[in-house]
Subunit: 345 residues, 2 copies
DNA sequence: GTGAAAGCGCTAACAC
DNA sequence: GTGTTAGCGCTTTCAC
């Protein structure tokens, strides 16, 4: 029909127009959408026909305003294009989708200031929950989130003094464990390749992993490993070059520990390019197990962290809170484990 | 002050409370936020102090309802944890962030029905624009988006009959080019490993690439390549196994074309595990250049597609539309190019 | 430069 | 089982 098509094309149908079309009140239309069982069958069918004819799309802004719940969950990660966090986002997305929630995604680029700015902007959207990465934030960010009155999960780390809840693992222990493993293999001169201390100052998960590595050396009554810093610890070429530099300038080095799997993979590639054999000339270990770690040859010995699971559980914890109203300061350790591959002997 | 802190903690400040605190009307507070130049300096400072004291966070739901623009852009991708689309998401996210827009992200899991469901739900949020993947959608999805009256970009493909705008590349040509290259190298018995026809039925970018490959063989007056299908064309082990099967059952095969880089990398690994040398025994080529393609040994000869750039341009095109009101049916070809690595000879 | 009134689209609370 | 009223928090419009 002309009228119907016209209305449909305008895409401007609201509850009242649908109600007029069906010859009922707006409230009845609302009920058909939200609690269909409370409407008589005949009425319901008439309304459903009108809904269809007008191509009605509910206005969730009005809904949010009135109901004081948006059905939106905010997530902020340092970077998206790194496979580590894309696994995490996938985990969050899947869990939210199942429950009918929508995902508002932000990228902090490892900047606490940007995180604060995003937090402020996102909270205006009245999300039902917020997921953010790490336990280090500006005071303003912490205040904003504490006062928002919604569940908040900090993921990828567990630590004292969380804003609300946490889903992650012990970053210190991850560093400690990989270093302990390497020391146990009997390497005599281990080098360490990591992001700069400047980077670690605002990415304290990395700082904790470094601390764990140093602690393992100390507990073994050994001096700390020779360290080489990488400006961009997520750039494979850059990382590889620095690792090769370190080995070239310290011929005695027989093994490298890398602060993450990008550095680890970069190191293996760069050492091989330089004519060295991994692990015979130099062994390499990393932390983190993105798919590349298992695909290169030899595979990288590393600490496997389940990013997807961290994301999934972070979302689930929020959803449970929303359902139960359980305000218990949940903290969940997802753990990690050692994966030994060919890059060490 | 007690009152201030109390109000702050409740996180419930609205324009009226701020106005009362500052001794002005709500309208003046709104002006301080949106058009500060229209407010007297003294008033403005008083209001700003009140804004701060109460920890005011604007309610964007009310804003959206009243202004009929949300500042939200929706993006839907088939999968997030694949590095291909995470690059794309990063590109979108960066472009939107710069412009002050927020990203509502959805994952269709390669299902047109899920895409339709998501579209309906997302449109309720009254986004200012929508980005979706591919040119194949249900009629309902197309209708919903056409009638929404907002800019829509279909990315990762260019084709006739777009809903609104498109940013992508010619998938047929990508297939045609890699096949032509391989034929030009003189391989005599080329195998083809791809997703199932069933998969291609709802992922027509893959179908187009296949069609391009077959067209190249036909143009070379050759019979089509022996084809092996993979149930899950994004699972490396699964893909590798099928590729190895194909080669094992057709000893004459001297080269493989793979429908994507996951299959390509999986094939190289699996063939090597089976004791074959790539490219000496069997050469391998793919389509798509996620980082793994360049990290394995030998590197995968493939078609490089710039996912990040596709995402960035898709977002920018939407933003330009929003600024200029330019309704021109923009279509942008991002292109691609051949990257020759060690997996072919 | 500032304020008052109206209304965006929806639903909670209360009629009937 | 259905309708009426009011109001969520904001901004547009029009006064002054």
């Amino acid at each position: 029909m002309a009228t119907e098509k016209g209305d449909f094309l305008k895409g401007k149908a609201n509850l009242i127009k649908v109600a007029e079309h069906a010859g009922v009140s707006a409230m009845t239309v609302s009920r058909v959408i939200n609690q269909p069982s409370k409407v008589a069958d005949a009425t319901r069918q008439r309304v459903e026909a009108a809904l269809d004819a007008l191509g009605y799309v509910p206005n969730l802004a009005a809904n949010t305003l009135r109901r004081k719940r948006s059905g939106v969950i905010v997530a902020m990660v340092p970077t998206i294009d790194n496979s580590v966090f894309s696994d995490t986002i996938q985990g969050i997305s899947d869990a939210l989708e199942t429950a009918g929630y929508q995902l508002l995604l932000g990228c902090t680029s490892y900047s606490l200031e940007k995180e604060e700015k995003l937090t402020r902007a996102f909270l205006g959207r009245r999300p039902d929950g917020v997921i953010l990465t790490g336990s280090l934030h500006t005071d303003v960010t912490r205040n904003l989130l504490s006062n928002a009155g919604i569940p908040v999960v900090e993921m990828w780390d567990i630590a004292e003094g969380h804003i609300d809840m946490a889903v992650g693992f012990d970053n210190f222990q991850a560093g400690y464990d990989i270093a302990t493993y390497m020391l146990g293999r009997g390497y005599k001169n281990i080098g360490y390749v990591a992001g700069t201390e400047d980077h670690e100052a605002h990415e304290n998960r990395a700082a904790k992993r470094s601390a764990g590595i140093y602690a393992a050396f100390e507990d073994a009554c050994l001096p700390p490993p020779v360290r080489k810093n990488v400006d961009d610890p997520l750039n494979i070429e850059c990382c590889g070059a620095k690792a090769a530099d370190l080995v070239a300038s310290h011929k005695e080095i027989d093994a490298l520990i890398c602060a993450n799997e990008i550095i680890g993979v970069g190191a293996i590639k760069a050492l091989q390019l330089g004519g060295l054999v991994v692990p015979d000339d130099v062994s390499v270990a990393g932390i983190g197990d993105a798919s590349i770690a298992g695909l290169i040859h030899p595979g990288l010995t590393t600490i496997r962290i389940l990013g997807n699971r961290i994301g999934q559980r972070s979302a689930e914890v929020i959803l449970e809170c929303l359902k139960d109203g359980s305000a218990a300061k949940h903290q969940e350790d997802i753990g990690f484990h050692l994966v030994v591959r060919g890059s060490t002997k």
